[in-house]
Symmetry: C2
Subunit: 439 residues, 2 copies
């Protein structure tokens, strides 16, 4: 089946006995390209898409008879997987959906998660060269539709894979809420035999600029070889393709809607840099959790929480409308951790009733400090708990996890302030704030 | 009165006839420092604080008899203001409170806004060298307590000053919500004779590392001399004291809880750089609104809005609890502008009832694009309006302003998408995303 190819080019491929997945060679003037024939998603009939050995897709305009079959897919595959040998599953890839496993839905022109992990492996055979892969499609959803109950399922599948001997687990996930899921897994696993590498892509696999192959390749490499056994988010490190970065789950944030290097560590440095071209993992810190002997999982979440983004003009009586629905609130406050003083009596009354209220900052960078200004002191006095340099989103997921384990508000407070998964960084340095282009 | 001085040092000053505000000279070994005697907020009895000509405070440990009176305050003042001549008010400073006009409250150790603008001028006489100043204390509040009704008062006072001939207005404001107020003023003024420079400081004036004098100095310089007549936020440009940056109000965000260069332009470049040491204004763009002939103000706000920060696990029925209270909602969605699909029917029903729902991204950088993924298309179909590269906070203030002017939802949509104060930047470049320290 020549998925996506039409007209003259499709006929040419048929006449040469070439199928998707076959290794082919294309000559265009002085340029000679060898690689795997990839399905075409181009709107033009004369574009041939090849996945090259370096992991890139290339789209070539075919004017004449310059295509040669190098070897059939079955031969290529057998060579790589040593035909017939059952996969040992050194690395388990769990696909949950998202752009990294997406293709364009032709009827609407929008992108939908559809490709299976097997499809991905077919397009990126190099992955098989670094690890034997076990693959599974657990969900096929865009990550904006991800829910805490799915987090639990992903955590359980992950544990099963690690228990069965996988050296690491790669979770293909949509980028929208990838850091929320990553934090959920990080709080759920207190011990692990290997890392969990969450991976996504900002540009779908059918686009020549896709970050999907390099991110997936890097994540498999890390899953197999990383010295750490933590939950990490792996994405491009800068806008070109030189390296990828593995961030600590709980300190990561998607900071751009479309850039390939959108994911960045906030208030902390990443765990590792992956120089994927050399199969090299460069650790950026040594305070990581190493691979352990067993996996301890406790993955329950209570969604009776609310993330309150404070702004001037917000009516404090709004709190009354959610009061009966929540066991805890995370505030994204202003500056060092403030809301208007008018919220004080509402907070006081809620915390007296056993509702946990924690303060983070909408600045994102830096840490809250509620001892500097009068308002901060008043809010603390009303029971609001300052949460250091915790990101608002991480604080929320952590609170969901804690509330599923205790209802005792003093215990909730203690656990919220305990460094469970590296979510607090007490040593901020000048280097943690990015540099802006004004010099 | 020798505010803050105690013990031996106070006696020494008295014996020399030296008061706060006098010009003095201090010799310490080879070091000779000349400047204005500043009140001491030090906990040590032997620290003398001098405001030097370069705008810095310096704290000197006094061991012996090294202090000389250069000239009394009255003489120094008369020299500068040409004694008796009424201030022409080239620049109006309106003080609303905040750290820039704060001092430590000794009973609690917290910082409270207390210093008047006159106090500030006394400590920073250099300001008088660049412009004749009119000063006014309008409010004395920490900016987390700022409200839309105060925005209107600030706008009216600003217009009065411009109408009365001020070349520009400086508004001293707490940093917590400074960008909200700045956006509110930006949407309120459609024409201006001069700029409004919002200025704050991250460290209070009584700390040696205070950014207050340099920021205030820069803002007065800009208010008097800038070619643009827009609302701008002026703060430190980097963590040392080399330059300050004037950001366009509607594109600015406080990105750090404590750094002096916390304020940064998001998805856009600043208006100007101020090399304050040379009294130099370097324009960074030429698409600014120039000084006009008159001031047109329309400063009403409707606070029946809500900023919804989406997260996985958020219950869509939450919308029912706020439905009757709002005329509009700004969503800080994930990625390119999403919430879970489960919100779709709620949004559809609300927009049918004439409630405006606009989408921004919690990524902050980049722009929403609700045509790429199925979810985005569904939400648009339900009436959710994508708001390009608008910051969530700017979108909220803009919506408050628009809703005070029309109830027609189609008109609201049109105005939300119209570029009223430079809040949309359609030309993003690679340089707009900051650089992270991983190379």
């Amino acid at each position: 089946m020549l998925e996506g190819y039409r007209g003259k080019l499709a006929s040419l491929l048929v006449s040469k006995g070439i199928d998707i997945g076959d290794k082919i060679r294309v000559r265009k003037g002085n340029l000679e390209v060898e690689g795997i024939l990839f399905p075409s998603f181009s709107k033009y009939d004369d574009i041939l898409v090849i996945k090259m050995d370096n992991g890139y897709n290339i789209g070539l305009k075919i004017d004449g008879d310059e295509i040669y079959l190098v070897c059939k897919k079955s031969v290529a595959e057998n060579k790589e997987t040593k035909g017939g040998e059952k996969s040992r599953g050194e690395v388990k890839i769990i696909s949950t959906g998202g752009t990294i496993v997406s293709k364009i839905e032709y009827e609407t022109g929008a992108v939908k998660p559809a490709l299976t992990t097997e499809d991905i492996l077919e397009y990126l055979p190099q992955i098989r060269e670094i690890a034997d892969i076990d693959a599974e499609v657990l969900f096929s959803i865009l990550s904006e539709n991800m829910k805490p109950e799915y987090w639990t399922k992903i955590a359980e599948e992950t544990k099963r894979a690690l228990d069965e001997g996988s050296k690491g687990v790669v979770i293909a996930h949509g980028t929208d809420t990838m850091t929320y899921t990553a934090s959920a897994l990080a709080f759920s696993f207190s011990q692990m035999t290997g890392p969990v590498i969450m991976v996504g892509s900002q540009r779908s696999s059918d686009r020549p600029s896709s970050d999907s192959p390099i991110n997936l390749y890097s994540s498999v490499l890390l899953a197999k070889k990383s010295p750490f056994a933590e939950v990490s988010v792996l994405m491009h490190g800068e806008s070109s393709d030189t390296y990828t970065l593995a961030h600590r789950a709980v300190k990561t944030r998607k900071m751009h809607t479309s850039r390939r290097d959108a994911f960045q560590s906030i208030n902390d440095i990443p765990l590792a840099k992956v120089k994927w071209k050399n199969n090299e993992i460069v650790m950026m810190r040594n305070d990581f959790r190493p691979r352990g002997n067993h996996n301890t999982l406790d993955s329950k979440f209570d969604t009776r929480v609310f993330l309150l983004y404070y702004y001037p003009g917000m009516d404090p009586s709004f709190l009354e409308t959610i009061r009966d629905k929540v066991k805890g609130i995370i505030i994204a406050g202003t500056g060092l951790g403030h809301t208007s003083e008018e919220f004080e009596p509402y907070f006081r009354s809620m915390t007296k009733d056993g509702i946990f209220i924690g303060m983070t900052s909408q600045c994102l960078f830096g840490r809250v400090n509620m001892n500097v200004y009068t308002t901060g002191r008043k809010l603390q006095n009303a029971g609001v708990v300052p949460l250091g340099d915790l990101l608002p989103e991480t604080a929320l997921v952590k609170l969901m996890w804690i509330l599923a384990h205790t209802n005792d508000v003093e215990e909730v407070r203690k656990m919220m302030l305990k460094n469970l998964a590296g979510e607090f960084n007490f040593r901020h340095s000048e280097q943690l704030f990015p540099r802006w282009y004004h010099e």
